[in-house]
Structures are given as structure tokens and as C-alpha cells.
Symmetry: C2
Subunit: 443 residues, 2 copies
């Protein structure tokens, strides 16, 4: 299908908007109106939004304009339209988790990250489509229908923060919040051709976010440009953001290792090639030590499934018919994970952390593709990849979920395209070195 | 069967021994010899010991005597013979966990609590029978045979620290170490007519102790007199012991609530009566709020079984024939606990802790029987209690395991007897108030 036409925020960074707002070339009210108009015009073909809040957005924009006019400047998000994944509570708005279980459910209070957004002066325009209960990376199983890829609306946005990625990629908003338990920010960002940042575990507070797997759930940000992810992150980080450019030096000083993704997944070689080219000169070509890929995968699966099952066991028992059948199947499988396997996975994490820590010996950042393939068609569940038939879900998650196991910061940046569809380059670092990711991305 | 005749330490407290040693009325060498002789003579009928270490004990006693003679006094355990449960590593001695899986296994290093014992000058005479892998409260399933109750060797010692309880109750040693995951110190202490103290979670370091369920495993002490438990505890507490008599005041100042045990288990009314009489005047008669008994029981079961299964899953898969069949059955059941139930139990603990904390409103100590029945005959698995047939294992654990769920300090003291068999009174407090338990026990 033909791509969605550019929206009002296509090609306009947060920095541009901030400058225009302060130069009097635009107002928060105008930005909100343009976002709302674009959503009204373009979103029916995209499915990025499940709820739009014109009245709330207009009121917030008016306040933002009044504050700016009075000299009260809240910084770079002040007056900026933002979309919030429909798994994150916004007071007074429906929060459906993409599920019929929560049809009509209205959040009573703001999630902690939404409070931070508001304190930064952002204007929340609506809630974006999530894969049902965030339990899927395809973004095409939601009570409100699939979110679609702006580059080709016949294809997946990816998920589970599919609506947030599609909304930003289509230029309907310049910034969106998502959540990432195994790649749910980075996967749709990569498939839609934008940037997505999953910070370190607990770096953005998760209060008021519906859980998928508490050990791995992260709140993250999506924007067209990686620098805008950093700008937003500075307002959302719980323990205070890393200082801009801390550590000093240029991108050239950052030691990058290219991590061979084929140890983690069957990959489309063209995707690997595009990502590898975008990574540029690296210090080292790295391959995961034997067994580590399996260990990360098994640890991820045991913990994520056990915790997801704990969240949903009552709903599965009492009202299974309200789930999407595919999500229900996954939850039923998750309920069969034995407790001893979960206990072992949890107990094994400290040793695993040491092994992964050792991957960073001699370099600061690992680079690899974000996703080993380009956006598949909607509803596709198996796909041919490098001559093999692979499960789409497993492939989508394979390169992102390892970094959730240990809560490492990871950023996806647009790297180019294959068959006209976006490819993402993923940059992973240790907590505290987030500045390096953004310095590299700027290169 | 007729009771075991009194051993050399029957009726002799740690205080008596310390006084005699320092007055020159005995020596550590003589105490060790008397312990070793008594073990050689009496233990064949008891099964309290799985390994005796005459050479090691004699050497340690000699060193203790030399130190005392030279004026280097390590305090109240100096020169005292001590037995250690065969689940706790003592360097150079076999550590079998009561299992054929560990037949011939020799510990390379001392467990942390054994190091503390040695630093206190104690003389380790041997290792005591444990229910296989500490996974049972009856004490009659061990690769080296059952430990027997000195009051009637045809009856259970209780378990899993059955050998430690029997060794102390028979006067073979004045002090023994045990472990307590759901009552494994307190149950055999009560059934054998001695005192047993399970301190707060992690109060005695658990390094070098074979795990049963890491969330609930406690190291504890057994002695004829509760005060001797306190004396030993002061040497073993990781974070430093509570100061003697801290808080000041007399036993009369301690506010005690009698907790109706029938909310937790079917009970022998005669046992309840004896324990209630021993508790004396109380501030209040308390009953657990509705549902709390079930919640404690379910939380205990889910966590204990899941963690035990995680410890043993490989052995169950690879060499099931080496397990005692009853223990194997329990482990196989434990392996079927679903992970979601474990996750919920773990996540529910903070709320449960608040509910239990509220039980202490208006009083300092909860008093209840330690075990709702007297020692059953060996191998008995069902028993008539108050007109109902109940499972022996469940009944033995019912009044002790709730306090492991939240790691509360609990002391059992001899309270009297029914049919000539010992009854224990259990005193439970909040961490930091251990002194109250001992003050009450002295009354």
C-alpha cells in the first residue's frame, strides 16, 4: 500500500518546535490543533490512536501558551504535543490496554511518567494503540484493531508500542511514550523508521503503567530523531538524567563493537548489511560466547512468561473469551511455566549479568540491528528469512529482548532501508553511559 | 519403648559447664570425651548422629583447654561440645544432607555459622541426622535411618533437625545447630522436650548451608534450656546479638497474646491446654483474622515448593532412584507448582507482612503451641486428632511455618507433657524484640 502522506511534524525536531514557539512563529495551541487535525485526517488509515482528547489537548496548550507568555518556561517539551501508549494511565482518559477486558475503563490518576510529562509542559493529545496487554511485538492484535506502518499501511507497525511509533513516523506528533518489556519501544520504532529509546531498568518510573512482566518492564520514548529521545528522557528520568555530553569527547572516542546478530536470530542479510554500514567504523567484531544467546533467551522467556501469567491468571480463568485468541494462547502457555524454572532464571541473573558485563570489555557500546527483518505484512505469522521459515514473533524480539534481561539502556536509530522499508540500528550500553548512545547516534 | 537413659549433659546448662571449666572442675577434653562416650553408648538406639568426629573433637578440645589455661577465654561456648546438623558444612567432615545423592560427599570449608562456632571456642563432635534434604518435619526419612525420640525411641524425633533435637534431649551434647524452613528447629525441639530458637531471617548467616527454600531457610539453635539458646545465638548472630536484657524490665512487663491455634490446624485439645497453661497470664486472647491462616499457608506452600523444586530439579530428572520415595513424591509435586502462583506469592508478601504486623498491635509476643500434637510413632502418616484424621506432616508444620513466611523470630520452650510426651510452647515476636522471648521463657 502507498505510504501515509507526511504529517505536520514530519521533519520538525523538538529543537525546531521549541525555537519556533519561543520566536512567536507558532503557539502550543496551533501545534495542538495541527496534531489534532492530522490525527483526524490521517489516523483512520493508520490506527495509531485509540483515544484522542481534543478538549484536554486544547486546554493544556492554552495553559502552555499562557505560561510561556508570562515567562514561565518549562523547557524543551513545553507546549509540545505528545501521544501516550494506551497502557499508561492518563487521568480522566480511557486506558484500555488494547483489551476488551478494559473496555470503558477510565484512569483515575496520571502515571508517574505522565506527571513528569505534564510538569515539563507537554500537551497530551491522546492514547496510542498497544498490542493487547503489550503481549506481542507485531502490533496487530488489539481490541481497537491493528496499528499500521506509515511506510506501507498493509504492513505491521511492530509492537507492542505500535501506535506510538506509527503516530511519530507519520508526523502526527513529534514525541510519544511507549513501554518496552522485550523490545516494544525499539521494534516498532525500527520498523516504522524512527528512533526509540529504552533507558536502563527503572530509569523512568513505571508507576501507573499496566504491567506485563515487572522484572523487565521499561518506559521509553519514541521520536523521529534520536536527539529528541534524549531531550524527552531528560525530563522523564527518575533519578535525574545523565548530564548532556557528560564524559566529554566526540563520537569518534566511543569504542563500538559490532555484535554479530546471527548468534541471536536468523536474519535477513540485507538488513544486517544496512545496519552494519550505519554502525560505521568499529573497534571489534564480536560474537556472543557459546550458550549465552540461549541462556539470555531462556531467562527472558521464563521470567517474562511467569510474570505475565501472574498478572493475567484471574482473567484467563474468569473471562477467557475477552482476550484476543492469540494472546490467550500465549497466556495459557505462560501459565504452564513451572515455578522451579522461574526461580532458577531469577537466581541465575546475577551470574548472567557478569557474563554480559564482560561483553563490554574493551568497548563502550554494542551495535547490532534492532530487528533482523523489515516490517512484515499485517497478520503474517511465519516468514521466509535467509532461506528459512521463521516465526515472525520470535524473530522480531530476538535482537532486543536480551537487553531487557539485564535492564541495559538501548537506542534504535534509523539506519536505512531494504525494499523501501526501514531498518534500525540498535546501540546498547551499560547503565550510566547513555550519553554515549546519543553521541554515537548524532554521528 | 522405654526412654533413653540420661546422658552426660542432661540437666547441665551452658552456664554450669562454663563455670565448671573455669573452676577447673572439668576440662574441654573431658567434656568431649564424655560426649563421645555417650554417643558411642547411646546413639545406636537413637540415630541422632550420622557422623562422629572423635579425632577432630579431641583436637579442638585440647586447643580449647590450652587457650583457657593461657588466659585466652572465648566466652560461654569455649570448650563446649556441639553437634551440627548434617545439612551444614563442617570442613573435612562428610555432609550427606541425609541423602544418598551426597553419600561420601565431604565438605571443603566450614559454613559461616560453623566458623562462628569455632571462633567461640566450641568443640564440634559430629553431624546429626536430618530428614532427607531437610524436606520433611517427621525426621524419619533419611539415608542413614530415622532419628528417634529419646522420650520414646519408637516415636518420631520430629524434623528436619531431628538428630540435633534428639542429641540434646538425650544429653549427648548441651547444644546443637539446626535449620528451620517451616519449623525444622522448633518441631523436633518441641517433640523431644527441649528449647529451640529460630531467629529472624538471615540473623544467623546461611552461607554453607544446603538450601531447601532460600526465602525461608533459617539457621537456629537447640538446647535443653531456652537461655542456652540465647547464649549460643549471641555468638552466631551476623549483625551482632541483641544486648542481654535490652529494653529493661521484667517478664511481667511483656505483653503476651495467646493465639488460638485452631485457626491454623486441628489440634489435640490436651496439647493446647498444656501450652496455654504454660503461657500464663496474657494480655489478650487472639484469633487470626479471616483468611489469614489460608493466605499464610498458601504463600508458604507456593514459595517453599517452588524453591525446593528449583534446588532439586536436576537430581529428580537424572537420578530419581537415589531419593527416598516420599521425598521424591513431594519434589515431583513441588515441580508442578506453576510459576504464576510463585510470582503472586512473592508479590503478596509485603501486604501479608503488614497484616501480620498488625497482629502485634497492643502486645509484644504471640504465644501458641509449637506443634498441635505429641510425637507420633515413627513412620505414622495419618493420625487421629480431636476426633478427626489428619495428615501428620501438615499438622506438624501448621503452627510453625506461618512465622517463616515473614522471617519472625520464634522460640519453643518445654511446656509440660501429655501422655508422658513433651509439649512445646511457641513464642513469636517481631525482629529486634528477641530479648522479650527469652525474658518470657525465663519466667
Amino acid at each position: 500500500m502507498p505510504p501515509t502522506p507526511p504529517g505536520p511534524f514530519t521533519g520538525r525536531s523538538l529543537t525546531d518546535l521549541a525555537r519556533d514557539l519561543r520566536a512567536g512563529r507558532t503557539t502550543a495551541a496551533e501545534l495542538a490543533r495541527r496534531a489534532l487535525d492530522a490525527i483526524a485526517g490521517l489516523d483512520p488509515a493508520l490506527g495509531a490512536f485509540v483515544t484522542v482528547d481534543p478538549a484536554g489537548a486544547r486546554a493544556a496548550a492554552r495553559r502552555a501558551d499562557e505560561e510561556l507568555a508570562s515567562g514561565a518556561d518549562r523547557g524543551s517539551l513545553h507546549g509540545v504535543p505528545v501521544a501516550v501508549k494506551d497502557l499508561i494511565d492518563v487521568a480522566g482518559l480511557p486506558c484500555t490496554m488494547g483489551s476488551r477486558h478494559f473496555a470503558g475503563h477510565v484512569a483515575e490518576a496520571d502515571a508517574a511518567c505522565v506527571t513528569l510529562l505534564r510538569e515539563a509542559g507537554a500537551v497530551i493529545v491522546g492514547k496510542t494503540t498497544t498490542h493487547e496487554f503489550a503481549y506481542g511485538p507485531t502490533g496487530d492484535r488489539s481490541a481497537n484493531g491493528p496499528s499500521r506502518n506509515p511506510r506501507d499501511p498493509g504492513r505491521m507497525s511492530g509492537g507492542s508500542s505500535g501506535g506510538s511509533a506509527a503516530a511519530v513516523a507519520a508526523g502526527l506528533v513529534p514525541l510519544a511514550l511507549g513501554t518496552d518489556t522485550g523490545g516494544s519501544v525499539r521494534i516498532p520504532a525500527a520498523l516504522c523508521g524512527i528512533a526509540g529509546f529504552k533507558p536502563a531498568y527503572d530509569a523512568i518510573p513505571a508507576g501507573g503503567v499496566f504491567p506485563l512482566s515487572r522484572s523487565f518492564d521499561h518506559v521509553g520514548v519514541l521520536a523521529a530523531d534520536p536527539y529528541d529521545c534524549l531531550v524527552a528522557y531528560r525530563h522523564l528520568a527518575a533519578g535525574g538524567p545523565p548530564p548532556a555530553g557528560s564524559g566529554g569527547g566526540e563520537a569518534e572516542d566511543v569504542r563500538v563493537a559490532w555484535l554479530d546478530p546471527t548468534a541471536l536470530s536468523v536474519c535477513d542479510p540485507r538488513v544486517v548489511q544496512v545496519a552494519r554500514a550505519a554502525a560505521g567504523v568499529v573497534t571489534e567484531e564480536l560474537r556472543l560466547p557459546g550458550g549465552l544467546a540461549e541462556e539470555l533467551r531462556e531467562t527472558y522467556a521464563a521470567i517474562q512468561r511467569a510474570e505475565a501469567a501472574a498478572v493475567h491468571a484471574d482473567r484467563v480463568a474468569e473471562a477467557p473469551e475477552l482476550f484476543d485468541p492469540e494472546v490467550l494462547d500465549r497466556l495459557r502457555a505462560a501459565m504452564r511455566v513451572p515455578a522451579w524454572a522461574y526461580v532458577r532464571a531469577v537466581e541465575g541473573r546475577p551470574a548472567l549479568a557478569k557474563t554480559v558485563e564482560a561483553l563490554f570489555d574493551g568497548h563502550d557500546v554494542l551495535a547490532l540491528p534492532t530487528v533482523p527483518l523489515v516490517a512484515p505484512p499485517l497478520d503474517r505469522r511465519e516468514i521466509e528469512l535467509d532461506g528459512r521459515t521463521v516465526a515472525v514473533r520470535a524473530a522480531l524480539l530476538a535482537l532486543t529482548s536480551p537487553w531487557n534481561v539485564l535492564g541495559l539502556p538501548a537506542l534504535t536509530v534509523p539506519a536505512g532501508s531494504v525494499d523501501g522499508l526501514p531498518v534500525g540500528l540498535q546501540l546498547v550500553c551499560r547503565p550510566g553511559r547513555e550519553d554515549l548512545l546519543f553521541r554515537l547516534a548524532a554521528r
